[in-house]
Symmetry: C2
Subunit: 272 residues, 2 copies
């Protein structure tokens, strides 16, 4: 009897699914998904993106749902790590599909560490992060020299359990020097975030929120920092949403009443 | 005689070309480029990305080079703005292809403003920014809870002429609280940037530089903040490059000596 040939261990691909619009996937992500035999997905966005990529092909990778669903608790991270290792060592072509980009506020680091420890190579495929799709929807940028914004800071409003969380007054001081703030997962903590920011930022500073950026469910509002909490409640903008704070929004504010902004054009077209 | 039918003005697409690897283009960017009749490009990266997208098609949009080339001065922004408006009003399907993402340290705001003023609709197509491809090449993320990095700040080391430029000591104070720094266009200003950062950050904080991230010309180095200037000179890492500073790099540092990092694997495969 000849010995069993050694099993090929393929690299696990951690792939950014982008903000929601399946067309915002990269060509590389689409290729890797088409080649996969097992795909671990977080949420409905990932499933829709995957379905869109596989449309018209006869591929049907095994789909493993590892995210929150209908109020159920999410799959523990340790279990996801083990599953990634197990499937890879079984010779599967594994894709771990994550919303946005895996290297921004995901827990890619833990998955990469687990795979490396098990001797499984990892390739990360970047994606468009929701904070970028959010400013696009608002008609402005992360930075804008004309608005005096020479930098941008991304922070999460949902800190690690047990951690003190971001120092909002310190962040406000940086924002005051001309840095746009993009806050992920900040809606539920908005009252305390805004309270902290108002210590060093004016109440009339433009502030916005975008939910489900780039998708047909997209909702957005532009207001001021002082009125943000009240506006979120009134407009019923819930999680997951991105908050944007800074002078870059002045363009978006001006444009809200004009007819030429793509978003406004879309809204007009939808209403017609 | 019947009157001339009104000319259709198509939206101008400002498209992110990504960091360099043509596979990191989004599906939407690829589609828009295939539909274009005129494409304005900045640099060689854009041209390579465009060539890759059009490969195997019979499309040949008119290519207009508007960037720096071989030491020549770049096309003035005002001229680019006028050209975009003129081509759009002539009925062309215009794409303005920009490296990375148009909404991060580009001058998209000025182009959007000029187009809006002329009544031309604008659609921005996001791209993968080079700062994200840079951390991917280093084997780490922008944020990482395990490394205590709950946020990231992107700043440009190449401030607007006449502006005071970023307040590096203030930025250092924020970085010290657990925020990763990603500095675009910072290599030529590295001595003054590092001097400012060392006022509030330790000299042994990990620091890295990545040039031409995601391309075959990619070069990277991982060192410390205190040794960054010397290392850039010794390794001859020039512009355009991205600097990354923060504890997130500890993973990259650990991994530099291991065999499992994708980058190390690739290097090993190339050497074999």
């Amino acid at each position: 009897m000849s010995p069993t040939p050694p099993l090929t261990v393929h690299p696990v691909h951690l792939v950014g699914a982008g903000p929601g619009d399946p067309e915002l996937l990269t060509l590389k992500a689409a290729r890797v998904l088409r080649e996969a035999t097992v795909v671990l997905v977080d949420d409905l966005v990932g499933e829709q993106v995957l379905a869109s990529v596989l449309e018209g092909t006869d591929r049907a990778p095994r789909l493993v749902q590892v995210g929150k669903r209908g109020g159920c608790a999410s799959t523990p991270q340790a279990f996801i790590n083990k599953l990634l290792v197990r499937e890879a060592l079984a010779g599967e072509k594994v894709v771990r599909l994550k919303g946005g980009d895996p290297l921004i506020f995901g827990r890619a680091g833990e998955e990469v560490a687990a795979l490396r420890e098990a001797g499984v190579p990892v390739v990360v495929v970047n994606g468009i992060t929701s904070g970028l799709a959010a400013v696009n929807a608002l008609g402005c940028g992360w930075t804008d020299r004309a608005a005096g914004a020479q930098g941008v800071m991304l922070v999460t409003g949902h800190p690690q359990p047990g951690s003190a969380g971001p120092d909002w007054p310190a962040i406000a001081r940086v924002a005051a020097s001309g840095v746009t703030l993009v806050i992920y997962m900040g809606v539920s903590q908005a009252p305390s975030i805004v309270h902290g920011l108002l210590s060093h930022l004016p109440a009339d500073l433009p502030a916005a929120a975008v939910q489900h950026a780039s998708t047909p469910q997209e909702r957005r509002t532009v207001t001021t920092l002082g009125a943000l909490v009240e506006t979120l409640a009134r407009e019923r903008i819930g999680s997951p949403a991105v908050l944007v704070i800074g002078r870059v929004l002045e363009v978006a504010v001006d444009v809200a009443t004009a007819t030429l902004q793509p978003a406004a054009l879309n809204a007009a077209a939808a209403a017609a």
